[in-house]
């Protein structure tokens, strides 16, 4: 019910707004250029006064649009949530408007999203990486980035020269490591997904690292 009323109201702001499949709270897709007006309408007219989460999605390397930005809102008066999604136009260097002007809390969330997915937020006051170091060239949560990572220099050249240490891609040894669900504790121990190779038996030829 709330979803239908909200949808009608938001279509008054941006006519192309549509309902988004959701298992929990009301969710809407809206065009990227009307994302900020829609968020502003939700905040000012519908009581969604708190930004709970701002994040992004990588829909897969082949997908287009590949990247989606997501905003989760909470109304502290009615305790109801809403989710707004907007697809980014560019699949290689996605751009999205920043919601910092509406909620200062968006600042670090958007920095994280920029760091890990490479979505650039326009009008963000301080768009730097928040987890990885500034010079890191990749965006690790993109689907085409291997969990083990790539070989890089350390960010401190002096230490790198002194120790001869680099950022290496982590030895996966049949990983990633997952715990299987079982009622026996010894079977729930985390194990490598692909046990055909490990420290003793080398990885079979012809398999990619991904």
């Amino acid at each position: 019910m709330i979803a239908q009323e909200l949808l009608a109201a938001l279509q008054g702001v941006a006519p192309q707004t549509s309902e988004r499949p959701s298992a929990d709270c009301p969710a809407f897709n809206c065009p990227l250029d009307s994302l900020i007006p829609v968020l502003r309408a939700l905040r000012d007219n519908h009581g969604y006064d708190m930004l709970v989460d701002a994040t992004g999605l990588d829909n897969g390397v082949e997908s287009s649009p590949r990247f989606t930005v997501l905003y989760h809102l909470l109304s502290t008066a009615t305790h109801s949530y809403a989710r707004i999604a907007a697809d980014c136009a560019d699949d290689e260097t996605p751009l999205a408007p920043s919601a910092v002007e509406l909620w200062p809390a968006a600042e670090w969330h958007e920095r994280e999203c920029f760091d890990l997915l490479g979505i650039k937020y326009e009008n963000h006051p301080d768009l730097r990486r928040i987890l990885m170091w500034d010079e890191y060239p990749h965006h690790p949560l993109r689907k085409d980035f291997p969990l083990a990572g790539h070989e890089e220099d350390l960010w401190d050249q002096e230490i790198s020269d002194e120790t001869g240490t680099k950022v290496i891609s982590a030895p996966m040894m049949g990983g990633p490591f997952v715990a299987k669900s079982s009622k026996f504790e010894n079977e729930r121990e985390p194990r490598a997904k692909d046990e055909s190779w490990n420290e003793k038996n080398p990885k079979p030829e012809g398999q990619s690292r991904k």
């Binding site: 083990a148 990572g149 350390l154 960010w155 401190d156 230490i159 982590a170 985390p190």
Partner: protein
């Protein structure tokens, strides 16, 4: 078990008079019993490190209770936790700032080998960036395990040829 080379010649007949010993024994005796740690607490292992410092386990029994947050005043760096690549050069720089002689303990699975973090962000063992004397297994290790590592380090320090090292320097 390796025993400390700290036997000093003691004879009640010359009490208050002379004690004859080896320079190594005296230096090592002094060093082993006041290893001041540089607590490099990076993750949950640091909580166990704090427990080792608190009254129940009491690291003071081994002369290592003076946790120095200044590297200039510490002897042993206890790397307690996950070393990320972002943090690794900082760890090394702090280690470089410690005055010799200095030692390092890798506490727990993460500091020893990267532990469960086989990923792009985690250094696969702090020994890739600083020389480690004692590794402690566990995730996290119990405080007793850290104390055991400290005793092992004391034994190691006790067998060093300190005098010739000093003269070489």
């Amino acid at each position: 078990m390796v025993s400390s080379n700290t036997d000093i010649g003691y004879n009640s007949k010359v009490e208050g008079g002379v004690i004859v010993s080896k320079a190594d024994a005296v230096i090592n005796w002094i060093r082993t019993n006041s290893l001041w740690p540089m607590p490099m607490g990076l993750a949950c292992c640091a909580i166990e490190l704090m427990a080792a410092g608190a009254s129940k386990f009491d690291i003071a029994r081994f002369g290592a209770e003076v946790m120095r947050f200044s590297p200039r005043q510490s002897d042993v760096m206890i790397v307690a936790g996950t070393v990320t690549y972002k943090m690794a050069p900082v760890v090394r720089r702090i280690y470089d700032q410690m005055a010799a002689p200095k030692w390092a303990i890798a506490m727990g699975a993460c500091a020893s080998s990267g532990g469960m973090y086989r990923s792009y962000a985690t250094m696969q063992g702090v020994d890739r960036i600083i020389p480690v004397d004692v590794y402690v297994s566990g995730c996290p290790p119990r405080p007793e395990a850290l104390l055991d590592a400290l005793i092992k380090l004391q034994d190691k320090v006790g067998t060093e040829a300190s005098t010739s090292n000093l003269l070489k320097a």
